[in-house]
C-alpha cells in the first residue's frame, strides 16, 4: 500500500511537470493610450521634425522622421492617419543631399581617413530658380498642397513664426540679393503671405489634433552657432517667450495633450567636434604654435594658440565642419574663403561682396592664410565666449519651454539633458552609438541632423516621456530596422 502511494505520488509529480506549458512565456501588458488620446496627431518643429538629414530634405529622411515613427507607434494605441508633405517617388531626392562616396587620405599622417561627400543632384524636386543673379539662384521646390500632420519646416525658428514674408519667393534683400524667405516653407505654405503660425493654425483647424508634439526652438540658437557667431542672431528671451506661448495656445486650443522637447546643447554635435582635433593635430605637426583669427563680427584679430582648440586632451575653441575645406589652405596666400562667403552673403553681386569683406576686415589675400593680415575667419570658429553666450541663451529658452509645458500640463522630453548624457556614447543591442561623426551612427553627414537610426532612438525617447506623463504604454520603435550611415 505504501509503495502504491509512493509510486502514484511520483507519477503525479512527473505528469504535473510534463503538463506545465512547454514554452516559457512573458506576460506583456497590453499597449494603452493612458490618459491621452492619439487619434489625431500633429507635429510642430524645424528640420529635425521634417526629417531633414545629410544636408537636405529627401523622401527617405521624411519617411523616418521621428513624428512619422511616433505616428506609426501610436497606431497601437488608437492613433490615426498621419500625413506628411512627402516628395514624390520621381522627385525622391527632394532638395538634394550629401552622399558619402569614399574616404581620402587622412588630413594629418596617422589620422582618420577623410570622408569624401558628393551632392546628389538627380531626382530633385526643383520647380524654378529665382533671385537677382541667375548664376547664383535660389531654388524653389515642387509645391505640396493639402493639409498635413507633420508641420516640421526646415530653418523655422520661434522668433520667425509670425513673419508673413517667409513663404514669399520675391523676398530678397535688395542690397545683397540674399534670399530672406525659407524655400522649404514656400514649398508647403498655402500662400506667399502665410506665416508659420498661420500655417500651424490652418492645419490644426483641419486635423483637430488630440495630441501634438512641439520641438521648435533649436534654430533660435543653432543658426547663430553654426555661423561661428558671425552672422544670424540669438533670439531674445522676450520674443521667444511671447511666440512660444502663442504657439502652445494654438496647439492646446482644443484641449489637446502633447509633448514638447527642449533645445539640445547645439555645440555638442559632430558639426562642431569633428574638425577641431584634425586642425589641432595638423598645426602641431607643422610646429605652428598659433594662428591669427577674427573674432565675433568685428575686424579685431586675436591669436589662437593651438592648445586652445578643443580635442580630447583639452582646449575650448570649436571648429565647424564647414572649416574642413579651408584647413589645407592654411599658411598659403589666397582668399578662397572670402570668395565663397561673398557668393552666399552677396549672391546679387559677389564681386562687390568680396570688396566689402576684404575692406571691412582688412584682408590681404597675398599674405599667408592664418596670419594677422589674412586671418582665419570668425565664422569658422566658435570660441569660449561665444559658446558661453549660446549656452546661457539655450538655458534661458529651455526654461521657457519647460515652464510653458508645466503650466499647460504637457509632457517634456528634455533633449538637452539626453544629448548631454550620451556624450561619451552608449551601447545598445551590440551597436555603439555616440555623437562622433559617421562612426557614431546617430548623426547624418551634415553633422547636425540625425540618421534614420538616430530618429528612431529620438522617437523612443519621446515615447518614454509620453508614457511617463500620460500613464500610457506605447510600444517602442525597433531602431535596428532603421539605417545609420551607409559606407560607400
Amino acid at each position: 500500500m505504501k509503495n502504491f502511494v509512493y509510486k502514484s505520488g511520483m507519477l503525479a509529480l512527473f505528469a504535473g511537470v510534463l503538463l506545465t506549458s512547454c514554452d516559457p512565456e512573458i506576460d506583456v501588458a497590453e499597449p494603452t493610450s493612458g490618459t491621452a488620446d492619439f487619434s489625431s496627431y500633429v507635429a510642430v518643429g524645424n528640420s529635425l521634425t521634417a526629417g531633414y538629414a545629410d544636408g537636405g530634405l529627401y523622401l527617405e529622411g521624411q519617411l523616418s522622421s521621428y513624428p512619422a515613427l511616433l505616428a506609426q507607434q501610436f497606431q497601437a494605441v488608437g492613433g490615426g492617419d498621419f500625413t506628411q508633405s512627402l516628395f514624390t517617388e520621381a522627385q525622391r531626392n527632394g532638395t538634394g543631399y550629401l552622399r558619402l562616396v569614399g574616404f581620402g587620405a587622412p588630413a594629418i599622417p596617422g589620422g582618420s581617413p577623410t570622408p569624401i561627400t558628393e551632392a546628389v543632384k538627380t531626382e530633385l524636386a526643383i520647380r524654378a530658380a529665382v533671385g537677382p543673379n541667375p548664376k547664383l539662384p535660389v531654388f524653389l521646390y515642387t509645391k505640396f498642397t493639402g493639409n498635413v500632420n507633420n508641420l516640421g519646416v526646415p530653418d523655422m525658428r520661434i522668433s520667425e513664426i509670425k513673419n508673413n514674408n517667409l513663404a514669399n519667393p520675391q523676398n530678397f534683400d535688395p542690397q545683397t540679393g540674399r534670399a530672406l524667405f525659407f524655400p522649404q516653407f514656400e514649398r508647403v505654405a498655402a500662400t506667399a503671405q502665410q506665416s508659420y503660425l498661420e500655417y500651424v493654425q490652418a492645419n490644426v483647424d483641419a486635423a483637430e489634433p488630440t495630441f501634438f508634439s512641439n520641438w521648435l526652438g533649436n534654430n533660435d540658437v543653432l543658426t547663430y552657432a553654426t555661423s561661428g557667431a558671425f552672422s544670424s542672431t540669438l533670439t531674445d528671451v522676450a520674443t521667444f517667450q511671447a511666440n512660444y506661448s502663442e504657439l502652445i495656445d494654438v496647439l492646446t486650443a482644443n484641449n489637446a495633450k502633447g509633448v514638447v522637447a527642449t533645445i539640445p546643447n547645439v555645440t555638442a554635435v559632430p558639426f562642431f567636434t569633428t574638425v577641431g582635433p584634425t586642425l589641432k593635430a595638423g598645426l602641431k605637426a607643422k610646429g605652428i604654435p598659433a594662428i591669427a583669427i577674427l573674432t565675433g563680427k568685428t575686424a579685431t584679430r586675436v591669436p589662437l594658440p593651438v592648445d586652445n582648440i578643443k580635442d580630447a586632451t583639452g582646449g575650448t575653441a570649436l571648429i565647424p565642419l564647414t572649416a574642413s575645406a579651408y584647413i589645407p589652405l592654411l599658411g598659403a596666400p589666397g582668399g578662397k574663403y572670402w570668395r565663397d562667403i561673398s557668393k552666399t552673403a552677396f549672391p546679387g553681386n559677389p564681386t562687390a561682396g568680396l570688396q566689402y569683406f576684404l575692406g571691412t576686415y582688412g584682408i590681404d589675400t597675398t599674405q599667408a592664410f592664418g596670419t594677422a593680415l589674412n586671418p582665419w575667419p570668425s565664422s569658422l570658429i566658435l570660441d569660449e565666449t561665444e559658446q558661453a553666450e549660446i549656452a546661457t541663451r539655450t538655458t534661458e529658452l529651455n526654461n521657457i519651454i519647460k515652464a510653458e509645458a508645466q503650466s499647460n500640463n504637457l509632457a517634456i522630453w528634455d533633449a538637452n539633458a539626453y544629448f548631454n548624457s550620451i556624450q561619451n556614447g552608449f551601447t545598445r543591442s551590440g551597436v555603439f552609438y555616440s555623437p562622433a561623426y559617421i562612426r557614431g551612427n546617430l548623426f547624418s553627414l551634415d553633422g547636425i541632423h540625425p540618421t534614420p537610426r538616430g530618429q528612431a532612438i529620438m522617437a523612443n525617447e519621446f515615447i518614454s516621456a509620453i508614457n511617463a506623463k500620460y500613464n500610457a504604454r506605447i510600444p517602442k520603435v525597433d531602431e535596428t530596422q532603421y539605417r545609420a550611415i551607409v559606407l560607400p
Binding site: 509510486k7 551590440g430 551612427n441
Partner: protein, 412 residues
C-alpha cells in the same frame, strides 16, 4: 575498450545548454540529478569522482555511463517590442566514471564530464542580432582521481582535471549594408588544453550522518588561434569591406570558475537517505569577455565587454527512498543564484535565479548491472534588464528547461 567509449562520446555528443547559473551545467550524475544534484556529503558511487573525491574510496568498483538531454527554450521580449524565442538545439551533457580499488584503502578512478557549456540560438532576425545570433561553448573535463580511506570515518581524495573545449560565436555586424542579407561574423576556435584539480574530504561521525567538503579549482579556457570568418560581406560596400580583412585570428580566455561545496548526508531510516548541499561558485573571476584580433576587425584589434559576475551560492536538498532492494525513488530541489548583476545581462547567458525540481529512479537489474533515470525541470525567474553595462541586449528574458537523463552502471 574504455578509451574507445570515451572517444566516441567526446566526438558525438554536445555539451549542454547552460541551465545552471552563468554557463555552468550541473548534470554530473543521473542518480544525483534525481536528488536535486546533492552529493557532496554522500557516497554517490562512481560519481564521487565529481562530487567528492574523498568519498570515492568507499565506492564500489564500477563504470558508469550516462547522459542528459537538455530541451530548453528562452522567451525574449524586447523593451516594448515584439516577442522572440530562442529555440536552442538539444544539449546532451554526459558523464563517464570508472572506479577501481587498488587495495582496501586506496581507490583510483577516471571521470569524464561536462560541467560547463552553453548552446543558444537566437537566429539572425531578432532584435538583438547585432549582439548575438548563436553561441556554442563546450568544455569537457577529464579527471584521473585517487582516494584514500584514512580511517573508518575519514576519507580524502584528489584529482587532476584536464580540460578541453571550444567556442563558436556568431553575430550580425553592426555595419550598414547596401541591401540584401546583413553581414555577419563568426568566431570559432578550439581551446588549449588546461589543467585544474578537484579535492575532497569525507567524514562519517556516526552510522547515520556523513559530511563532505569538496573543491574544484578554476580553469582558464584559452583559445589562441581561433578563426574569424564572415558571411554576406559582399552586401557591404567596398570601403566597409576593407574593415574586415581575410585571415584574422582571435585569442580569448574564458574562466570556468571554482566551486566549493559542503554537503550533509543523513540516513533517516534504512530506506530513506536525505541530503543537503551548499555550493559557492567563484564567478567573480569572470570580469570581461575580451577578444584580441591579429588584424583589425571593424577597425579594432580588440573587442571587450564587461561581465563582472558575482560569486554565488547554490542550495540543494534531495532524498532517496529504497522501495525494495532493487528499486529506489528519488526527488530533490535546488535554488541556484545568478552570477549576472543588473545591467550585465547578455543573450549568451540570459541568466536569472533558477529553481530546479527533480525526480528520479534507480533499478538494479542484477548484482552487477543497474540503471538510473532522472528528470529535471528548471524554471528561471523572468528577468528584465537594461543590459547597458555589458554590450548586451535590453529586454525581458524567461528560460525553462526539461532535462531527462539516463545512466547505466556496471559494478564489479
Amino acid at each position: 575498450m574504455k578509451s574507445k567509449i570515451l572517444a566516441l562520446l567526446g566526438s558525438t555528443l554536445l555539451t549542454g545548454t547552460a541551465m545552471a547559473g552563468g554557463y555552468q551545467v550541473n548534470l554530473a550524475s543521473q542518480r544525483q540529478i534525481g536528488m536535486g544534484h546533492t552529493g557532496t556529503g554522500l557516497v554517490t558511487g562512481t560519481s564521487s569522482i565529481f562530487f567528492n573525491p574523498g568519498a570515492m574510496a568507499q565506492a564500489r568498483n564500477g563504470i558508469t555511463i550516462g547522459a542528459s538531454a537538455i530541451v530548453s527554450k528562452i522567451a525574449y521580449q524586447a523593451p516594448d517590442y515584439s516577442e522572440t524565442a530562442a529555440d536552442n538545439p538539444t544539449g546532451t551533457p554526459f558523464q563517464v566514471y570508472g572506479v577501481y580499488g587498488i587495495n582496501d584503502k586506496i581507490k583510483v578512478g577516471l571521470g569524464v564530464y561536462t560541467p560547463f557549456g552553453s548552446t543558444v540560438n537566437w537566429g539572425s532576425e531578432w532584435y538583438g542580432r547585432k549582439g548575438l545570433n548563436e553561441l556554442s561553448l563546450k568544455a569537457i573535463y577529464i579527471q584521473p582521481t585517487i582516494s584514500y580511506q584514512v580511517t573508518d570515518k575519514l576519507g580524502i581524495g584528489a584529482g587532476v582535471t584536464y580540460t578541453i573545449g571550444s567556442v563558436n560565436l556568431q553575430r550580425t555586424l553592426p555595419i550598414e549594408g547596401e541591401g540584401g542579407a546583413e553581414a555577419g561574423i563568426e568566431l570559432d576556435g578550439d581551446a588549449k588544453s588546461a589543467f585544474g584539480y578537484n579535492l575532497g574530504i569525507f567524514f562519517q561521525p556516526t552510522d547515520k550522518l556523513s559530511l563532505g567538503l569538496s573543491y574544484r579549482s578554476k580553469v582558464d579556457v584559452e583559445v589562441e588561434e581561433g578563426d574569424v570568418t564572415y558571411s554576406n560581406l559582399e552586401n557591404l560596400s567596398a570601403s566597409a569591406r576593407t574593415n574586415f580583412p581575410d585571415g584574422a585570428q582571435f585569442a580569448a580566455t574564458l574562466p570556468l570558475p571554482s566551486t566549493l561545496s559542503f554537503g550533509i548526508g543523513y540516513n533517516a531510516t534504512e530506506k530513506l537517505t536525505l541530503a543537503v548541499d551548499i555550493s559557492r561558485v567563484g564567478w567573480s573571476e569572470y570580469e570581461e569577455l575580451r577578444f584580441d584580433f591579429t588584424k583589425p576587425v571593424g577597425g579594432n584589434t580588440t573587442s571587450a565587454s564587461a561581465r563582472n559576475y558575482e560569486d554565488t551560492y547554490i542550495y540543494r536538498i534531495g532524498a532517496e527512498y529504497k522501495v525494495t532492494d532493487a528499486l529506489a525513488l528519488r526527488a530533490g530541489a535546488y535554488y541556484d543564484e545568478t552570477p549576472v548583476q543588473d545591467g550585465y545581462l547578455t543573450p549568451e547567458t540570459p541568466d536569472a535565479d533558477s529553481r530546479g525540481l527533480s525526480v528520479g529512479l534507480g533499478y538494479s537489474i542484477n548484482e552487477n548491472i543497474s540503471i538510473d533515470a532522472s528528470f529535471l525541470y528548471i524554471n528561471k525567474k523572468e528577468r528584465t534588464d537594461e543590459a547597458n553595462l555589458s554590450n548586451g541586449v535590453p529586454g525581458t528574458f524567461k528560460s525553462i528547461a526539461y532535462i531527462p537523463g539516463f545512466a547505466l552502471n556496471y559494478n564489479f
